[in-house]
């Protein structure tokens, strides 16, 4: 059963990456030169990392659903065309990790 969940996580990550790559090539016409943060990608990244790292907080959802959904969102940003999504991912990890640490320590 563990392995099936594991496979679902991987497939969710792969689908997110593929979709992220396709959408980012439509959205961004230029290579990554302006180095601006995209607010939509930032929100998706924070939501994704929050779901992955803090799935225990969402008691109304089974953890494998929230983690699968989270991995999909994480991959959506992480899998964008080269350069894009880098800063958004770092912010997503940082914010989710701070929430996780705060809740674990408190």
């Amino acid at each position: 059963m563990d392995e099936i969940t594991y496979l679902i996580y991987i497939i969710s990550f792969v689908l997110g990456s593929v979709l992220g790559l396709l959408l980012s090539y439509k959205k961004y016409n230029q290579p990554f030169v302006t180095k601006k943060i995209d607010p939509v990608a930032l929100i998706i990244s924070i939501a994704g990392w929050f779901l992955v790292l803090n799935s225990a907080l969402l008691f109304f959802l089974p953890s494998f659903v929230s983690i699968s959904l989270g991995l999909f969102l994480v991959a959506l940003v992480l899998g964008m065309r080269p350069g894009y999504g880098r800063y958004e991912t770092v912010f997503g990890i940082l914010i989710s990790a701070v929430v996780w640490l705060a809740l674990t320590i408190i």
Partner: protein
């Protein structure tokens, strides 16, 4: 769970994780070399792409051997998944699978009739002479644990602690073996860019897809064996973290090391094998 379903599940996981780890490796290497690098998913997309490409066969190919060899490589690594995560069988079988894989690599090069393939074929024999002694790490593991069965080795480590601390030189030998199988490795003489893509040069379409699937599964399996045999009982997350860590470490090594010429590559590998075997035996006698 049904055995067939279990096999299918593990093969799928091995293929997907292996492909993603290869993608991650390319990304890390690119970042070290101050390039943006391809997306992590690139290797997987690259593999799948070959299944929708036209398959053509060189005029000089030795049929039907040329076709059979690609499927054989796939079958060999699927067998490795069965021996490894599915039944946790004997490491000796895994050694047999690895040796067979070297023969298939050799034959894949010779069957196409391409001069690049033939050079790669000669180099495969060369590298087998160095990689098979590296696999002698199994003897050290046997001398330490008195067993070759993976599940028994896991139990041994649960009681006595990870083998990486008791036979570190053997772990180093296996690490060099893993390094040898990674793309862009200093020891990757069979696929050096000086011979285009080595034994894969003249394999197109579906056949190339099979070769790439096999490579992804092989990468996952080598990392799985390393983590299982030297670190001990791990959960799924432990395996994932370990595999990512080793892949990143290897990406660092590959990005800053040039491809060695065949003679140097073999000598370095054999030196590691010699130090590993003799050093481990001395350590076992002393401690």
């Amino acid at each position: 769970m049904n055995l067939m379903a279990n096999i299918l599940l593990n093969v799928l996981i091995a293929f997907l994780i292996g492909s993603l780890l290869f993608g991650l490796q390319r990304k890390v290497m690119a970042r070290i070399q101050t390039r943006p690098g391809p997306p992590i998913i690139q290797h997987l997309l690259h593999t799948l792409k070959f299944f929708i490409k036209e398959s053509s066969f060189p005029y000089t190919a030795a049929m039907p051997f040329y076709i059979a060899i690609a499927s054989m490589l796939c079958a060999i690594w699927v067998s490795a998944v069965i021996v490894g995560p599915v039944i946790e069988g004997s490491l000796l079988l895994f050694f047999g699978i690895y040796a067979l894989q070297k023969i298939v690599e050799h034959n894949a090069g010779s069957s196409s009739g391409s001069p690049y393939g033939k050079l790669s074929c000669v180099r495969a024999v060369f590298s087998a002479a160095a990689e098979v002694p590296l696999f002698a790490v199994l003897v050290i593991i046997y001398l330490q644990t008195q067993t070759m069965v993976i599940s028994d080795i896991i139990n041994y480590q649960a009681v006595n602690g990870p083998l990486i601390f008791t036979i570190p030189l053997a772990a180093l030998m296996f690490f060099v073996l893993i390094l040898s199988k990674s793309p862009y490795s200093p020891f990757a003489i069979t696929k050096g860019k000086d011979i285009v893509s080595g034994y894969e040069t003249e394999h197109f379409g579906v056949l190339r897809g099979y070769l790439m699937i096999s490579e992804s599964i092989a990468w996952y399996m080598l990392l799985w064996v390393f983590l299982t045999v030297f670190i001990g009982p791990l959960g799924i997350l432990g395996y994932l973290v370990g595999m990512v860590a080793i892949s990143v470490l290897i990406a660092f090594i590959n990005s800053i090391t040039p491809l060695l010429n065949p003679n140097h590559s073999i000598m370095v590998q054999i030196t590691f094998a010699f130090i590993g075997i003799v050093g481990s035996l001395v350590l076992m006698l002393v401690m």
